[in-house]
Amino acid sequence: MMILSRSVALISLFLLPLLTFSFSVDNPTDRRVLVLLDDLSLKSSHSIFFNTLKSRGFDLDFKLAEDPKLALQRYGQYLYDGLIIFAPSTERLGGSLDSKSIADFVDSGRDLILSADTSASDLIRGIATECGVDFDEDSSAMVIDHTSFSASDVDGDHTLIAADDLVKSDVILGKAKIEAPVLFRGVAHSLNPTNNLVLKVLSASPSAYSANPSSKLSSPPQLTGSAISLVSVMQARNNARVVISGSLQLFSDRLIRSGVQKAGSPNQYEKSGNEQFVTELSKWVFHERGHLKAGSLVHHRVGETDEPAIYRIKDDLEFSVEIYEWSGKSWEPYVANDVQVQFYMMSPYVLKTLSTDKKGLFHTSFKVPDVYGVFQFKVEYEKLGYTTLSLSKQIPVRPYRHNEYERFIPTAYPYYGACFTTMAGFFVFSFVYLYHK
């Protein structure tokens, strides 16, 4: 008995560090990341990017994409919290991995960084299509831009692009502006315009097009201009985040270290914007920014503290909700001025913007409308780059009870007066009639 309990204690002691580092809703620290490479030399050629991840506390597990011992799950538990696939030419993933298991991985709420390159295989294209991103069907096509290429392009075919059309979002790309253009060399992809879960983070300039650089164009290219996305992100409805890049070289040390000068522009930068771009993007995709959590909705009548079971029409009520944002280490109060609450029954009767006390509490007060029924307090917050908040709480609203109306209606005072005057008149008349001479 003693030996059993001691071994259990020993085992739990070993498991404790693992438990503190694993993913949980209160502590969304993605720590264990599986990195799939098609060539182990990528470990050194992309070392700056991997080191930034390691310095933030991530446990990177480098494996070859075709390793037969690959597994994402064991006995129903996921072994990793994030996945990076830097294996653009892999036709088949090893072990128990395939595009369906990767789709399930994202469905479970875990994050993915996927990068294609000039020789993107069908497997990689398939995973990208699952996430809503369509790579150019021509497998030999690359993004070519004759006006926005980098002046340091050695090949001379204008495939090394200096892109600066970044999405305007502080939460995805960080508060600091990325001054230098981002160097890119790879394939183009496009997004379905009706899909509202994907977003272009780095777009090509209007003069870009996707074609084979070594052969003459026989017909106009299909993907052109700003419809070409170079790097896109997708935030799924379960708030899993996916980054899809058309270039593996975007993450490489060579492009991170190189200076950049856009052809035709006088500005020359010593360092390209690549390092800042990939670092900030990786912070976003692994939930270090823009991950919101909401406490429960609290509502009560003005002057009370308990939540009533039912409201009456034209009651004054106060509503509040707490929203926190994960800063990578702890929950910080979320500050924004566009969180709204709806008092909803088939359509919002009341829509109010909540005011914040800057400590994470969002509150407002309003009058219950003059309609009775079963209402819902709804907070539907969908801001670009932030997790979607979808909260609701049901509450019934009743009409006046028969003794809650006003007792005497002021407009009817003349009628009250007339009735009593008539009664008094009748009384006086009967006296006079009986006792007159």
Binding site: I409, T411, A412, P414, Y415, Y416, A418, C419, T421, T422, M423, G425, F426, F429, S430, V432, Y433, L434, H436
Partner: protein, 115 residues
């Protein structure tokens, strides 16, 4: 022609007035009461025309109390008038007792309906 019609109207009016002066006092009292009740009713109708009929039950209650009591007073007058051959055998006290009872019932209903 005009002069003669004016003179006729004046003669008619004078004869009506002299006939009315001859009526007994109790009947004149009842007439005054009826005028007072109808006047009150007309004031209420004018007020309703001004502000609208919002608490309609109160309006009805007020107007019907006046009209009801006027109607009961007219019945009393008919029954008490000695020139009326139909009610020759009815004691005037009985008529007055009916009048009082009906008025009490009327005002009970009115207060109930007033809201």
């Amino acid at each position: 022609m005009v002069k003669s019609t004016t003179k006729d109207a004046q003669d008619l009016f004078r004869s009506l007035r002299s006939a009315y002066v001859a009526t007994p006092t109790n009947l004149k009292l009842i007439d005054m009461y009826v005028c007072f009740a109808v006047f009150t009713a007309l004031i209420q109708v004018a007020y309703m025309a001004l502000v609208g009929s919002f608490p309609f039950n109160s309006f009805l209650s007020g107007v019907l109390s006046c009209i009801g009591t006027a109607v009961l007073a007219v019945c009393l007058r008919i029954q008490v008038n000695k020139e009326n051959k139909e009610f020759k055998d009815l004691a005037p006290e009985r008529a007055f007792a009916d009048f009082v009872l009906c008025n009490i019932v009327l005002h009970l209903i009115i207060i109930n309906f007033l809201g």
